[in-house]
Symmetry: C2
Subunit: 299 residues, 2 copies
């Protein structure tokens, strides 16, 4: 399977690019206030699958952009992702102790520092997208990318999805509620990652539409599998508290559909995602490999 | 005093413009998730002095911009200000009960909603600055405004200032620490407000420099008086918990200098701010009136 081995070569290099960029661009631990800077780095550098960054690099390089021109959007989506994890893990929210195999930010530091570190990680995403020189697009294209990331991060995206999540319990669990919650909480940033990669490559409106349809299916499949893994895999492998949705009486694809049907649903979404890219006027190998990873992953 | 009466006429109208714009552009309470949308509106519409918006309008109109072209930056700085207040008031931070004469966001709703509402208010600031059509500048100028607001809001601005504030107690109180904290926590957004108004009017680099020097003195004077008011005025007049810095054993200009010397220091800063605008090639009346308000205000 050549497509798989190709992604397997590239992905670790993309992870290193993200870490290198964040190392260079996040405020230094020696600077004041040192604890805030340290907490920002702790929560964003050197951990995580970098699935969203991989989507940026895969979409962008498939459309002809250089990897160096994709570092800014790749790091911007990872910063927004890190921000949302730090805040979602807080005691007033999901109250999680473990994230990416180490203590959550508020456990490693304190609650106030975790709130501020999350805040500043979000800000940093907009800052690099507004002024990062490596991104070689027109000012108008850059503004379009900024507007997209802002829509994705706020009330109509991550923050909105988390608010729905907090209100939802299995009592009112419908597939509609779960789908809407995940569309905002997980799907929106996965879609934005694909779009930002394409926008950084100055893609046409037609290609952007195709890729967004692909990303919608991919994002949903990713979340369905996330729910299955959260309910069936042990904490050490997952790197975060497993079973936390079940413990919190949260509706999930697993609780509503059961594992067999949930995996079958993810398989159908994967099939749709593949179909959408059939005949696309660019090399779809990396994106297809990422789609396969989405449903085959074990953590 | 014609300059004072002129500002007095304009300021209430600017407050209405900000509320109108936010009413139209914040997510509707009827939309889902309704509680998040309601909390965002609760914390940003219809309250507050709008001092930072007034700086945007005063700087911008003095340089020839139309008020309508200043609504976006004026609301962007007020959204960032509202975001920082909501998060600073949280139990893990300053644990305040009262803000702008009503219960703080986490008291009126709950802690999780307040964290998310603050997050989404910050995002909304970047969203309107990236895509608000009313702003009539070039894409490059808009990017410059976005980058400035991001620098102001993050680790090198509000978030950094709050982190220093949380670590500071009267034990290690030096005037240097207090000055650095306030330069980030309050001064940075006041400076950004003046600069954003000027950038929206496509001001020259020379005028931007002059205005920034003016704003640095103004921002520091504003904070010195804030410290004096916090320590000497009762809660009902202040609209927020008075004496909270003293209760938390925080160093302030009042605790270090005493009321007499603190007010004298503010007077000197006001004098410097006036001097900087002497001979400036535009009508400085509104900005001078705002500088006077800064040291004469009672809440």
């Amino acid at each position: 399977m050549p497509e798989r081995s190709s992604l397997e070569d590239l992905w670790p290099a993309w992870c290193r690019r993200v870490d290198d960029y964040l190392e260079r661009n996040l405020p230094l631990p020696e600077g004041q206030p040192g604890q805030l800077h340290t907490a920002m780095r702790y929560s964003s550098i050197g951990a995580g699958k970098r699935f969203r960054a991989a989507l940026v690099y895969a979409a962008g390089t498939s459309l002809g952009a250089a990897e160096a021109a994709l570092d800014v959007p790749a790091c911007a989506v990872e910063l927004v992702h890190a921000f949302s994890l730090v805040h979602d893990d807080l005691p007033a929210m999901d109250d999680d102790n473990l994230r990416r195999g180490k203590p959550t930010c508020h456990r490693a530091f304190d609650e106030a520092t975790a709130i501020l570190a999350g805040d500043a990680l979000q800000t940093q995403a907009f800052e690099i997208l507004a002024s990062g020189l490596e991104l070689s697009v027109t000012p108008s294209e850059r503004l379009e990318m900024l507007a997209l990331l802002a829509r994705t991060s706020g009330a109509a995206g991550l923050a909105g999805g988390q608010a729905i999540d907090l209100q939802a319990t299995t009592v009112d669990a419908s597939l509609d509620t779960v789908e809407r919650m995940h569309a905002l909480k997980t799907g929106s940033l996965i879609r934005a990652s694909v779009s930002l990669g394409a926008l950084a490559a100055s893609a046409s409106a037609e290609i952007l539409t195709t890729l967004d349809q692909f990303a919608q299916n991919l994002g949903l499949a990713y979340q369905v599998i996330d729910d299955v893994l959260d309910g069936t895999v042990d904490t050490p492998i997952l790197g975060k508290d497993s079973g936390s949705d079940r413990d919190a009486d949260k509706p999930t694809y697993l609780s509503i559909l059961g594992e067999h049907d949930a995996r079958q649903f993810a398989g159908k979404l994967h099939h749709s995602a593949r179909q959408i890219l059939t005949g696309a006027p660019f090399d779809t190998q990396l994106l297809l490999a990422l789609a396969r990873f989405t449903i085959e992953r074990s953590h």
